[in-house]
Symmetry: C2
Amino acid sequence: MEYKSLNVSAIGEKELINRIINKNNMNSNLSFKNYLGDDAAVLNINTNHLIATSDMQIQSLHFPKQMSHFQMGFKVVTVNVSDIAAMGGEPIGFLLSMAIPKMLKLSDFDEIVDGVIYACNYYNLPLIGGDTNESDEIILSGTALGKVDKNKQLLKSGFKNGDLVAITGKLGLAALGFELLNEFHGTDNDLENLAISKALNPIAKIHEGQILKNFASSATDITDGLSEELYEVFDADHLKHSSNHGIKIYESKLPMGEDFIKLSNKINQNPLKLFFNVGEDFELLFTLDKNLVDDLAKLMDFYVIGEINDLNKIEIVYLNGDVETLSRKGYEHLK
Amino acid sequence: MEYKSLNVSAIGEKELINRIINKNNMNSNLSFKNYLGDDAAVLNINTNHLIATSDMQIQSLHFPKQMSHFQMGFKVVTVNVSDIAAMGGEPIGFLLSMAIPKMLKLSDFDEIVDGVIYACNYYNLPLIGGDTNESDEIILSGTALGKVDKNKQLLKSGFKNGDLVAITGKLGLAALGFELLNEFHGTDNDLENLAISKALNPIAKIHEGQILKNFASSATDITDGLSEELYEVFDADHLKHSSNHGIKIYESKLPMGEDFIKLSNKINQNPLKLFFNVGEDFELLFTLDKNLVDDLAKLMDFYVIGEINDLNKIEIVYLNGDVETLSRKGYEHLK
């Protein structure tokens, strides 16, 4: 039978695992030195501060129809590496547990694995282990391991009154991309193409996390929407320090271009909702002592959007001067 | 509404995660010191040899109908810790990514989490992170981290000609249990009860792994059946050392009691097939220098079932003296 028409059930789990091992071995830069077929991976690490995070991606929930199998593989690495980035960590290893339908084309399986290995190269971490199973849809469950310098890890809490609140890039683009994909028939518009690429092939801000570990007083990645992440930062601080810290965000400071607002309106979406309530851009939200702004600006791009105060709530100051408590609306599974 | 009639969708992902964090915090012995709600876990580890392994359990594939939700939670920890045991490692942390149906009862969700946390206590490793998602059936994807003394890790290869081949316990009981569960209506028979308990609540041999790291020349856990694991050991050795090593197993040495053989026959199962081709007992298969047998016997129970030779194949010597190449038949997904 032709390769293109073979299903994964034609070769079975053991051969599929061998394909992963062979592809991984050919990936010479980062090839994991241990025998990948053993019970578990053994990593030599020169740190005693280990970071670990797990994140599961399910086809019907996380992968738009237009996403290629390669992009699915890339994305499961990104979502996990993003959490390492948000801690200021350096990735050191990735494990992939996957479940796939029996009738998945072998070529699609290969593309998923290629996407995972390409992303591992991109983020400079080896694929060190995993598991293969059967299910009705594609489920990719990843675990990223990282290391972090002692006392340099960026938690969700740690800021003080007067610190600035900032983000590493524009938000709402992936959200816009998801909306566009629902009725997409091709476009020449640069912003539409950018939005769609943000939705289909998000990139974790690992480089920025490495810089921020020396500057930021706290950080988290924006996956469930800015509003939700702000409340998580607020909650983490209150839980740990029982402070009166509050956060004020200024609409005037949000990096929303005219073209973004126009395109959002064109497809009947509220640009502020796309910006605050969707996520999936994988930018970092962080806080910063205001005296460090100039030094940090020499090293990376970022947008200051607000500040920490002692008002014990999260507020948004609109362009017209109105001040409102920010509503907590983010993406949530199972509800 | 009554707790017993609530579904998980009544409270949603964030509250479910809070339930896990609270249960974990009440688990005072091992409560993870870091704030579990952060982007990733930070572990202080006093080793530079880290072990990592991932294993996914899917309801329709891995959990018999009679398995309780508590037992499902326990099992996902066991299957991962078993790989740490097989490496001679000491577990240091567990991550759980789960996907559950929207209509799952909240009380069943709580039982899964209780099972995970109970197992983490049992194996002495903290729950350090995870993820929650939605799917049609219960999917539990675990990652276990462990540490191992330098040069003490037990790989699948490493044995020499003349080493003995041994297992940490009787095999085939879980297999028998799965068959019994297919038509089970209660029993007073001790062996039947033991078999069913092995199928529903398997235990990883972490204590034995810790002892074997100072004795064994190789080890692996028996999850896909003894025959499959023998071939994996054989393959790992050939891949790494291009040796002529072979393995000879003696039927006369297999720990199969009269009652096991009788019960297998009663339900029309071949006892040798249950012993060799099913797995899920989570016993360890290991090799050992023959001069160490007496010393090891002072520390733990085990059964010598064969030896390493230089015949470049895996053979079984039957009770009647016949010698045959062992057939490679194990459990395999996606085939």
